[in-house]
Symmetry: C2
Subunit: 178 residues, 2 copies
């Protein structure tokens, strides 16, 4: 399956107007909390995709770190980007459907994770290639910023799960898109 | 308590770019569903407030109808608006804090419901007068429209409840603001 796993503000932004996520990082990440879906989610991820903005944010804010082990990772970019040591990277400007087929093959039966951002995920949606959205909603509003999914998609998805993190921070919602 | 009870798209819009909510009305409203919080919510509402856009939307789309019985209702407007028969209305352009005090008094120990829209609710938030947000998230994205709460409010709220409607349509989230 191809999955968009992401954190968002209650008003649907994945980064604030400056491109930052301090509003998210200030919160208890809940990774120790058995209601947090990330541990189970990442175990089944075989390949990743992200946009250039997300990739550069990781490289800038976590120098020398890479969270995704040796999972093959596609970075969609029209610019030349510096690599991150230890990451298994492919930079691409190819159309989403061709890259998606390669990602599925590389994932070897496991899932494909669209890390972000919203516009890249929108292109997967446009091509009918997104199966699930897992969104952890933070208890804040931003009023402006980078949108979760900048598309008018009024064909209803199916909400398969809605849980609350133990401390009352996150609403973890899981949707089936198609 | 003063409560904002509202339905929103997953990306945080309460109306689409044309001001319409067909994306919401197409969904099973779930009022027969015992997981729907509206019945319990409305029972405890003693007074209502809404903006002119919300009021005019009701008057235009539901001629001759009024859903809120004889509950005292304040409509914030700078324009002259036509009344709705059977509704217990006060049109006002007064500042939010003075009107809020009158609403609390009129509610007689029951709650005050901010029906919408987002900018009016934002003014209550600016004055520290909002206690709770109850938001039912519809499984669609709009990409643009009228925002749920057009404010940068990164002081975390507390998520007190997260439930899923029986058919997998709505995520019902309840937040304590202050």
């Amino acid at each position: 399956m191809t999955q968009y796993f992401v954190a968002s503000s209650l008003d649907g932004f994945i980064a604030d107007a400056r491109g930052e996520i301090d509003w998210l990082l200030q919160l208890d990440d809940g990774l120790e909390d058995d209601t947090n879906p990330y541990a189970a989610f990442i175990r089944d991820v075989g390949a990743l995709a992200m946009g250039a903005t997300t990739y550069e944010w990781i490289r800038r804010t976590h120098p020398g770190e890479w969270f995704y082990e040796d999972r093959p990772t596609w970075v969609f970019t029209h610019r030349e980007l510096a690599p991150i040591a230890g990451a298994n990277l492919r930079f691409t400007a190819e159309p989403v459907p061709a890259v998606h087929a390669a990602m599925v093959a590389a994932a070897g039966g496991r899932n494909v994770w669209l890390v972000g951002g919203g516009e890249l995920v929108g292109q997967f949606v446009d091509h009918g290639l997104l199966d699930e959205i897992w969104v952890s909603i933070a208890p804040v509003t931003l009023g402006a910023g980078a949108p979760l999914l900048p598309r008018n998609r009024t064909t209803p998805m199916t909400l398969t799960s809605a849980t609350r993190s133990r401390g009352g921070t996150f609403a973890h919602l899981r949707y089936q898109v198609r």
